[in-house]
Point group: C2
Chain length 179, copies 2
């Protein structure tokens, strides 16, 4: 890495795709103020110092009232000169979450609608964004063939600097190669 | 996503693991000013507006003199309160690159050593960092069983806003689910 300190160039956005494996449904919302009639995964910007998974869990709860837990990282989008980001670049991460509760109590200030939608329906509808559609197909593949086909798993590891930890995401290694 | 604009909280660092598939070697460096005797993948901070893959290719060339091309994203590390990052958080991405040239002409200002090292040796040596060791094992698995086991592939897609593109990374979908 460069020896010169850099500056912060990216904001981090995180969405959570909460998948109910028992029935193949996923939790989606329609924004009140953005793209009309487009189903999306709930999400928002990371707070300073907040881990990716924590942002996903927090935003899902704030928007939908559903409690969920982090399972994996699925997709990353990098975008520059994003409108509304005022010169910053944007790193948008989509995580897979598992539901802990199921009752929807959505935030009417942010969302027009919130539903548990069939993944197969989300994968083929036009009422969504291209990235949501893509991830729906990825999740459908995972539901049918195992989420290990699509997941990046996370591990928390101690940094070289004492008392600090970092979170590392990559494809799961076979047990023989793990340590 | 939240309706309020955020602020940039993260710097983006990128390393490039250049793998020579013909002999199982990978391009590694030892920093002049950092951890002693630790083999690492060459890398550094993204310039504003620069894509992940472009940073990897640029940094590999600047540090080692080797030309390479982007193949996939392998791993992501998120770290907060990183020493030297002055309150920023750090997102560190490791990419897999393919070599276009092989002759080493390394930057003596940044590096003490630079070599094509056996992946198997990098995976088991103590003279490396934990994250490099982990990714070496991941690459070894990929070399033996196909890189499609470990890769996130990249696609450039048009944004909803005209004239802009974003880069999307995720596990490759089977052809039937692609569009």
């Amino acid at each position: 890495e460069s020896r010169l300190p850099g500056s912060a160039t990216h904001q981090i956005g995180v969405a959570g795709a909460v998948v109910d494996e028992s029935n193949g449904k996923v939790l989606v919302v329609q924004d009140r103020n953005k793209t009309k009639n487009a189903w999306k995964f709930p999400g928002g910007l990371s707070d300073p110092g907040e881990n990716i998974g924590a942002t996903a869990v927090r935003e899902v709860f704030e928007e939908t009232g559903v409690h969920a837990e982090f399972r994996s990282l699925l997709s990353i989008r990098q975008q520059h000169n994003h409108p509304g980001a005022f010169g910053m670049s944007d790193m948008y991460m989509i995580c897979r979450l598992g539901p802990l509760t199921y009752d929807i109590n959505f935030c009417t200030r942010e969302c027009l609608r919130c539903e548990w939608l069939d993944l197969a329906e989300l994968a083929k509808t036009d009422d969504t964004t291209p990235i949501t559609s893509r991830v729906a197909r990825l999740l459908l593949h995972g539901l049918e063939h195992g989420f290990n086909k699509i997941d990046l798993s996370m591990e928390e590891l101690p940094a070289v600097y004492s008392g600090r930890f970092y979170q590392l995401y990559h494809r799961q290694l076979p047990p023989t190669l793990k340590s």
